[in-house]
């Protein structure tokens, strides 16, 4: 046992920004644990045990360089988050477990292939094919473009502290792993393209969603796109941008999901349009919402801006990249400002603003812990905004890096004007409220699409869809194979002389082929 313990400790590496990322992970988990104090009612003890195990395994995932402990910890993360989902519904647990397990099996295969090809440590891998296999491996677990289908349904259905953990940090572990794998100077073009696709697709879906949680899930996809973009471009600056982005987005998204939990309990619904008078009902929560959404939008003086500026400055110079990057920033600005527009601007009367605010400020007895959690979250976002090199200047490269605020102010004003113009004359992209997303609905729409082409109208009932379609096909095929081999006892016993004669004549058979 002792041998195992030393080997486990020896496999930790504490250089560059990974300890910082581990600390941020720990802080975020504590924030969510704080927020869960009165959100989770029953089995509270088990909830905190699982969060503790999750905490330890995230730290191990980020810091270790040995393949075995890396995979051991990451699968522990999956296991704990699967059971954390049990507080919402067992169906979710099943789906999440199956998808995450397939992802981790591919990752296991990829990691062992890397191990077998000589990369015994988790370090920069220079063969592009292996990088590609590893990216596919971690794709399902951290929502790369094609493999992100499970992210919105599960993140929106999960209880809010759990979805805070999931969106805030679990999804980013894959990218932290990529930070170690992708060599800094070369980057990875495929990741770059995937990042672009994610940003565009996530942004477009976020704009079209009316439900706050679904919007947040899709915005996670688009923000992850930015991180993938940064890692894809390669270069010291881009990697630092990715790290900063991970931290900023972590804080912002955790606070946003906790606030969505509070607002859902406050207004009893998740649709953005009915959060009327939020500033007066929950002033502090709305303050947190405003700051996090600004950071999400990447406007100046916010955490998002620093990260986005780093990433855009790391791009290769040229008009096309400038325009494209402007478009990305615009998309993220639109979908974040649209939510602020709906919550705070649409038909609000700010007549006697001051005294209404005073009256609201002194009615805070109910959600004390949640408010505390959000304050820590916003504090985090502000710190990243004003000290990009983080307190105790861990990212020392950024200490004297000028973010030329003036250009930032100019850009943000343009963004705000454009966003207001677009939101105003498209009536705030008001979209019909879609009912909750679920994987069954995805499969059903996919199958309707397939069967519509074949003109055979097959009726599915959505909630039993996995059992009816998915399992029956497997059951029937394996039944056919089984019946093919299991005809009757004569054939089964016949295998013995057949196999014996094949073995006996193996010399001739082998020389024949």
């Amino acid at each position: 046992m002792a041998l195992l313990w030393q080997q486990f400790l020896a496999s930790f590496s504490f250089e560059s920004y990974f300890p910082l990322l581990a600390e941020v992970g720990v802080i975020l988990t504590l924030i969510t644990a704080l927020a869960a104090w009165n959100y989770i009612k029953e089995y509270k003890f088990w909830y905190y045990i699982l969060t503790l195990i999750y905490l330890i395994s995230t730290v191990v995932v980020i810091l270790t360089t040995d393949w075995f402990f890396f995979l051991f910890a990451w699968e522990m993360v999956t296991l704990t988050t699967t059971f954390l989902l049990a507080w919402s519904s067992w169906k979710l647990v099943k789906q999440y477990f199956v998808i995450q397990f397939t992802g981790s099996s591919i990752l296991l295969f990829a990691a062992l292939a890397a191990n077998a090809l000589g990369y015994t440590e988790i370090a920069a891998i220079d063969s592009v094919l292996l990088q590609f296999v590893l990216i596919i491996g971690m794709a399902t677990k951290s929502g790369i473009f094609i493999f992100h289908f499970w992210l919105p349904p599960i993140h929106s259905e999960a209880p809010s502290p759990v979805s805070a953990i999931l969106s805030g940090w679990v999804v980013k572990l894959g990218y932290i792993f990529l930070l170690k794998i992708i060599p800094i100077e070369s980057g990875n073009t495929m990741l770059y393209l995937l990042g672009i696709a994610m940003v565009v697709y996530g942004g477009w879906q976020a704009v079209r969603s009316a439900d706050l949680k679904i919007m947040l899930a899709y915005s996670t996809v688009s923000q992850l796109g930015f991180i993938a973009l940064a890692i894809g471009t390669g270069g010291e600056l881009a990697f630092l941008g990715a790290v900063l982005f991970i931290i900023a987005h972590g804080f912002a998204k955790t606070t946003l999901f906790i606030t969505s939990g509070i607002l859902q309990r406050e207004y009893g619904s998740r649709v953005v349009y009915d959060f009327k008078g939020a500033i007066f009902k929950r002033p502090l929560t709305s303050l947190a919402v405003i700051i996090s959404f600004l950071s999400l939008a990447g406007l100046v003086f916010s955490a998002g801006y620093n990260a986005k500026y780093l990433i855009s400055s790391a791009q290769l110079p040229g008009l096309l990249t400038k325009v494209v990057f402007f478009g990305f920033a615009l998309i993220s600005a639109i979908y974040s400002l649209r939510i602020l527009y709906w919550i705070f601007i649409v038909d609000e009367d700010y007549s006697n603003f001051a005294d209404k605010l005073k009256k609201a400020l002194n009615s805070y007895q109910i959600y004390s812990t949640d408010i505390l959690a959000i304050l820590f979250g916003t504090l985090g976002v502000l710190i990243v905004a004003f000290w990009p090199e983080m307190p105790g200047d861990m990212l020392e490269y950024l200490v004297d890096y000028d973010f030329n605020i003036i250009a930032g102010v100019r850009d943000s004003i343009i963004y705000i004007l454009l966003a207001v113009y677009l939101i105003h004359n498209n009536a705030g992209f008001k979209v019909k409220v879609r009912d909750h997303l679920s994987l069954e609905r995805y499969l059903r729409s996919a199958l309707d699409f397939i069967f519509s082409m074949s003109r055979k109208n097959v009726k599915f009932d959505t909630d039993k869809i996995f059992e009816t379609v998915f399992y029956n096909t497997i059951f029937n095929t394996s039944k056919k194979i089984h019946d093919f081999f299991y005809q009757d006892l004569t054939i089964q016993l016949l295998w013995i002389p057949v196999f014996l004669s094949i073995l006996l004549l193996w010399q001739q058979i082998y020389s024949y082929f």
Partner: protein, 511 residues
Amino acid sequence: MMETRIILLIIVPLGTAFIIPFIDLINAKLRRFFVLLGISIQIFNLTSIVVQYFDQIRDGSLFLQYHLGGWQPPFGINLVMDNLSFLFIAIVTLSLLFIIIYSIGYVGHHEGKFYVLYFIIIAASNGAMLTGDLFNMYVFIELLTIASGALIAFQRSHPGSEAAIKYLFYNIIAGSLIFFGVLLTYFNLGTLTMADVANNFAALESGIQLFITAIFLTALLIKMGVFPFLFWLPKSYDSSPAPVTAVLSGVLSKIYLYLFIRLIWTVIGFETIVALNLNILLIDIALFSSFLGHVFALQANNIKRLLGYSSIGHIGMIFAVIMLNTEAGFYGGILHIIAHMFMKAGLFVACGYLLQYTVSNHYRDFKGVGLRDKPVFIAFIILLLSMIGMPPLLGFASKWFILMAFLEAQSYFGAFIVIFGSLTAVIYYLRYIAKGFEEVRLSEDDLKMEVFNQPLLSVLYREKIVTFITYAYTAVIIIFGFGFRFLNIPLRMSIESIMNVERYIELVLGG
């Protein structure tokens, strides 16, 4: 050096098997006392061997011999215990200890006969793993077949006797093939001792070598339940009582795997297998059998049959990894043998407890089983998770090393089969876990049926024993899950004792 404790490992269970019918005549109450006495002497024996030769076990030079009847090896029968057989005997005895305590709590009628057959299986399994003589191995294999054949029909139900007949058909053919193989080696080489045969097996002409290897391989593949002959295995797991299936799946399949390693690596020598270019064929058969096992498991509508099919899948995988003949291959293979033994025995033990009130172990009767006794069902789920290969449990470590072995040996098809296996395992296990948690509204006649269904556990304390054993298995899996490096030394040493056959021959014949 000579060691009488080895022979005691075989005589003590044999003695208890002979005593029990005699005690039944006098008074049946003493029976359980003798059962416990027998198994405790066995454990005491094994621990005293471990204590005395601990340093030899650590540095891998453990080599205990015993010449029966005082005759030197080529003439008489000799027993050999090196690191490999020591490791296997240790885990087999531990698992048998768990199962016998479980069966004290589980078996109701005909308890005397059950213990007789059970102790014969213990004696025969120890004998088969210790013997250094071909014909002696054949006698112990026949002993295992008859005892387990009779135990499969223990419940005297319609499916039970069908399963036993099918089981015996296959295994008696395999037994007669082994007899034929042993006699063939005797006629060509003049001796029956494994070391002597190994010594000059290579000198034989390649046609005869192929003849003997073909006979032995067919017989062993039948016994292990690999692709062409896997038809008897699920049925015999399905219709026999829980302790018997635990023995069959946990212990017997491992003993035949050990005999396979002993025969192919020590007696016949792996170079001859490569010279006859059989190893590629065997790896493909093993992988196809593993693939088939997992595919059949998908359509199994009966929990025990499902576990039988998944057991075929795993044995196929172990068989393929070992056939790679690399250091990592053996490490992953033997670690998975240990993991699979405890997982499978634990699963069947839990199944026995969960299904005791259900009418049949069909899929629809599994409804609501989990809610009736939650703690055992949680243990059941943990074991299933370990079968899939989830991290905190031993299954993950063994899956990891097997995959590493496959990838180092560049056989990507093998790695694909392992991944395919664990993915299909998720699907068919999840289906049963979900069914276990479904609500069940017990109607009037269900309750009456349950009462009428004579639960075997009449007395409360027996229920305690049964649940205790299930937790014991889960505890073993979790402890070794974290501390699998703890198994590192015995695994390394047993690989080393497989690899160099010269040391085995020199020590047996020279000594």
